[in-house]
């Protein structure tokens, strides 16, 4: 299976999983616009390679390895979308398809340079959250200031945005995205790195999120909360 095709499958499964919990063959087929038979075949291959757990007639879900890979591609996809729409001013309707083709050939170095040039954007033009990168950093200043980005080193635990936590779930802050003013503002309110927090509640319609930290509770604008990435405690999210 070509790498491009493999990555596309993983992306689709991630999307469907987030919506439905498990990716059914038929749903994948609809999403990828291919015949269900080819999906079954592809899932078998992905399963052999260790990217998905596949159970015939039930569907597939990503392994940790597969999820990591899918997230990485998604991140590139959305970064490219921001680039295409904000820098090159390509029509927003076309950026998705363009990005779909470009995402598979992007190197780590280019991805990092792109992220730096776009000033570590939080969301793609369609409003989906861009994942944190997998460099071993705790904030963006390392990339934004230095000429040589820090080496890539896979994080031990997957980072998830604080907004993706379930109400009541506890987590530890691992990464704050954005320039120093964002980081400083959050830090001064007690949201320092390695701090334990609890998501109290999410207001509907992307409203503010309420976070319990250091025995107090803060209501934080959704757009600001997008900058906070955490490692969930206890059972893994998703």
């Amino acid at each position: 299976m070509a790498r491009e095709q493999l990555e596309e499958y993983l992306e689709s499964i991630l999307d469907i999983e987030e919506k439905d919990g498990i990716a059914k063959t038929s749903a994948i087929a609809r999403c990828m616009k291919v015949a269900p038979a080819s999906v079954t075949e592809a899932l078998q291959t992905l399963s052999d390679k260790g990217y998905v757990h596949y159970e015939p007639y039930k569907g597939a879900f990503l392994t940790d390895q597969g999820r990591e890979m899918a997230r990485k591609v998604k991140r590139r996809h959305r970064l490219l979308e921001v680039f295409l729409s904000d820098v090159l001013h390509i029509n927003r309707d076309n950026v998705h398809d363009e990005a779909c083709k470009m995402e598979h050939t992007l190197s780590d170095e280019t991805e990092c340079a792109l992220c730096k040039m776009l000033n570590a954007p939080a969301r793609c033009p369609h409003g989906s959250l861009i994942e944190a990168c997998d460099r071993d950093v705790e904030s963006c200043s390392a990339c934004l200031r230095e000429n040589h980005p820090p080496s890539i080193c896979t994080r031990d635990e997957p980072l998830i945005p604080v907004t993706a936590l379930q109400p009541g779930q506890k987590a530890t802050i691992a990464f704050i995205r954005g320039d120093s003013s964002v980081v400083q503002r959050l830090t001064d309110l007690g949201l320092t790195l390695k701090t334990d927090i609890r998501l109290v509640r999410k207001a509907p319609l992307m409203g503010p999120v309420e976070i319990g930290v250091r025995k107090t509770r803060l209501a934080i604008d959704h757009a600001i909360a997008d900058h906070i990435f955490v490692i969930a405690c206890g059972e893994k999210a998703g």
């Binding site: 830090t187 320092t192 701090t195 503010p208 025995k215 803060l218 209501a219 934080i220």
Partner: protein
Amino acid sequence: MSGCRDCAGCCPAPGRPDDKREYVVALAGNANVGKSATFNQLTGVDQEIGNWPGKTVERAEGLLQYRGQRIRVIDLPGIYSISALSTEEQVSREFIAHDHPDVVVNIVDASALERNLFFTLQLTELESPMILAINQMDLAAQKGIRIDLEKLSGLLGVPVIPTIAIQGKGIVDLSDAIVSAVHERPKPHTIPYGKEVEDRIRKIMQLLPAGAGGYPPRWTAIKLLEGDPDTVWEVKKSSPDVASAAQAYARELEKIHGEPAGTVLSGERYHAAERMVSEVMEIHTPGDQEVSLTDRIDRLALHPVLGYFMLILTIGGLLIWTFIIGAWMSELITTFLAGIAPIQPLIKGTAADVIFNGAWTGFVAALTLIIPYVIPFYFILALIEDSGFLTRFSLMLDRGMHKMGLHGKAIIPLVLGFGCTVPACLSCRIIESPKQKFLAAFLVTLIPCSARTIVILGVVAAFVNIWWALALYLFDFLLIVILGRIAFRVLPGESVGMIMEMPDYHVPHLPGVLNQTWQRTKSLIWIVLPAYIAGSIAITAAYAMGFLEPINTLLSPVTVLLLGLPLMTGVVFVFGIIRKEMTILALAALFGTTVFSTIMTPAQLIVFALVTMLYVPCISTILALAQEFGWRRALGITVLETALAAGTGAVAIRVLTLFL
């Protein structure tokens, strides 16, 4: 070093008896920890209290006279940090550093000790004599929190006083501590941070020339490491090499930690605070099974459906209830005052008669606005605010406010605006970004305040029907949303998202609520009452001398041709600049009738109310806007809204006459 010592003018002579001197004590601390309550208890001066973070936006002053000492108490704005630079943070920082208060009383919330100590640590860096007042000890005790005060005092090197400010407990101890502290000046210990940080602070301190900038050297060194723009600029002027050396050290720190030096230091402070808390605090309830009252109420108040339902019910109820009570009380007061002297704005006669009548009418008009409408409104609002519900409303409305470029906190000025525009404009200070502050004030001037509501009710609801009155309201809200969106695009500057602390609910504290109501009403009495009386005299006099007739003619192109209203309304609108509901009085006086349907058609009545609602904000509002944003912007809003009123009025009269 000659000048100062030789001159007897400014420095107190060494032998001067001490008790003649006036001491200065500053209250500092996070927002919503009970600073204002402590201030009130200490000084007896009424300072607003509410369950709303960020209330004290200007520093308030009061006098504490205790054991023969005169102590000036300054209530600084509630802030979380003195590193980031909002106006409030700047006010506090400059006051502590430059005005050298004799003692800083740092008030902290016992149940949120860790976050509060972060700020305490920043204060210790400024090296002012300090007292720590641990407030809300009762609430902390309820949560099973026990704090070893002596140990904390030992760690910080300053006196630690427990208080329950709202009940006045511990205030005597605090006063005692203040009095002895102004003499003993207890300096806080230096709390060491991590080794990499401390090494660099020490190195920079060695480089700094003695007495640079008037700040303590350790503070200056820390600020240089953080890259604080003011400090860097200040140090660069005298010793550029120190500034660049400090920058190099900051880079080293950033290399080690992989985050900006400012964040590293904030992290260090929180780390130190955590350490301290773990030494002095014990929690006796199992932490996780607390489903507190606050949590239970929040499940309802922040429910995606029920929450909004409650919100609409509360705000709507607040408005309706106010105007039901208001109309009733207003009539009572008018009848009573009319018995003392007739209320007649326009008379001709002797100069004394004219002046008396003007003053009396203005006084009565102000009274019948403030007592029946504004005070009950502010009282109920203060109840909602003090209980903690208002913060929930702002959380629920945050998303909607984004559409107008504002955020949830703007709900407070907007709701206040239904009472009176003046205190609402002043309350816009709670919004951090200058752009959003101005935007909120602009929209507040369009909110139908109680005066405008009186006009809409008295003209449209009474003589057309209630539905047209409601339609006017709806149109106004629509206009606010549209103009908000446009202004958001047009105005330069940056919009900042909201980060707000969510306080626990509590049963409103009556003295506090009354205080808050009085505080807001007070700003009305200072600005609005004199403006009314003076304005009313001026206009009555102008009428008596026959100056008003030419105004009608002058304004007739707008009033008659554009808006299709009777000629006499020209003068009426001039009256309305003083106070909007004076338009009703003037209308009645000029036409000699209170049955307005006999002098204007329904369409004219609606347009009249519409124009009154939108044109020139009243003179008190213009003054308040000028005070907050300067004359250029105040007049800009005035001109814009007048044009808006004329424009919409002109369209409305032409459309309405078709089917009314």
